[in-house]
Amino acid sequence: MSKIKIHNKSPHIDMTPMVDLFALLLTFFMLTTTFRPQEPAIIDTPASISEKQAPDKEILSISIDKVGKVYFNLDNGPDTTTKFRAKVLEKMGEQYKITFTPKQIETFSKLAAFGMPIQYVGKWIDQKDPAGRDKLQKLLQDQKLDGIPTDSIDNQLAWWIYFTRQIDRNIQVGIKADMETDYKVVKKILDILQDKKVNKFNLTTNLEKVEVKVEN
């Protein structure tokens, strides 16, 4: 009887090609990545055939969620020296007699969209991490204080738009609203913008292809 010989092979696999591959992928992702901005609320945008890309600099974006709460965002401008966010916050502070510390202003310029009255923005900035900010937002929501006030008694959104446009004349306006948002709410925002002499808007949409044929 011949015995079957079992080769005593080492179980080690050479990982080098795998490392090569991963290094390649990693480099690719690191170079192409643009970080997804943090969204203040879940907004399901409607579809359109427009293929125009959203500008990534100098855009003032107003998001409106399903229930009509308004969120505001703007970027820091074309380069690091412009510091639009910081300047706008300072102006808003002056308008509402709220003093922001230099540290708060510094932190604010690194943050993204927010949706709350100016009186709570300081508190929002002071939160240490995104989880804290979410918690604050939730708290405000429970007290029905979330969203930027747009009513005629205290139209803070109008002031935000006014100061932003004062600081950057070339800023474009983007509006991102949910499919289910009432048109009334959007119309109100459009009216506020038109009062501030903005007549051109970019409505964020999802791309959808449509085939059109003409019948003879």
Binding site: L26, R36, K200, T205, L207
Partner: protein, 210 residues
């Protein structure tokens, strides 16, 4: 976990042998790390930039009494009224108090408002289609910027196509608004405006089929 293969020699002949180290390094921890990093980057990357639809609204006259609606040629005027529950009404011509046109009910589907608008806007639509076809076939070579400005010129030269007045009723959703503007883009309507409903149309809307 570096793999070291030792050749231990049992013979004690006094000679010192240099220990032979294998050059193979265990790459497993490196692979682990890279896997982690790749996963992180893959999850945080936003690949496609959001798309936007551009819309320009007519400038507002601060004094409403001074605001005069620009005259619209009766034969070219088409009024589209957005109703509740995704219903679209339209009528051709202008509404006069003594002879109210009846609203025609339709919807956002392929054979709805789009069919009607395409029929009305056929000359311009065909022109633009032909132009785009030419570029596709390579008969016309233009840089991308001038294509859009040429299309704009074609739109501006349009003298027969409909002038669409878009009016939204009270309870519509934002989606309907985007959809109708999108229909304008699909059917290449050269002239359209978003305006408010007037009292006559409110009356017509009440009498319209639900």
């Amino acid at each position: 976990m570096a793999q070291i293969i030792e050749n231990s020699s049992g013979k004690g002949d006094g000679k010192r042998k240099a220990k032979k180290h294998s050059t193979a390094i265990d790459m497993t921890p490196m692979v682990d790390l890279m896997c982690l990093l790749i996963t992180f980057f893959m999850l945080t990357t936003a690949f496609s930039k959001p798309k936007v639809m551009e819309i320009v609204l007519p400038e507002k006259e601060p004094d409403t009494s001074k605001a005069i609606a620009p005259p619209v040629d009766k034969s070219r005027a088409v009024t589209v009224i957005l109703g509740d529950n995704d219903i679209v009404y339209y009528y051709e011509g202008l509404a006069k108090a003594d002879s109210l046109p009846s609203l025609i009910k339709t919807d956002f589907s392929k054979d709805g408002i789009r069919k009607f608008l395409l029929k009305r806007n056929k000359p311009l639509f065909d022109q633009i289609l032909e132009y785009k076809e030419k570029i596709k076939k390579g008969e016309l070579v233009l840089p991308k910027d001038s294509v859009s400005s040429e299309l704009k010129k074609l739109r501006n030269a349009d003298k027969v196509g409909p002038i669409v007045l878009i009016k939204a009723s009270e309870n519509i959703k934002y989606k309907n608004f985007v959809d109708i503007i999108d229909e304008m883009a699909i059917t290449n309507i050269a002239r359209y405006a978003v305006v408010d409903l007037n009292p006559l149309e409110l009356k017509m809307l009440e009498a319209a089929p639900k």
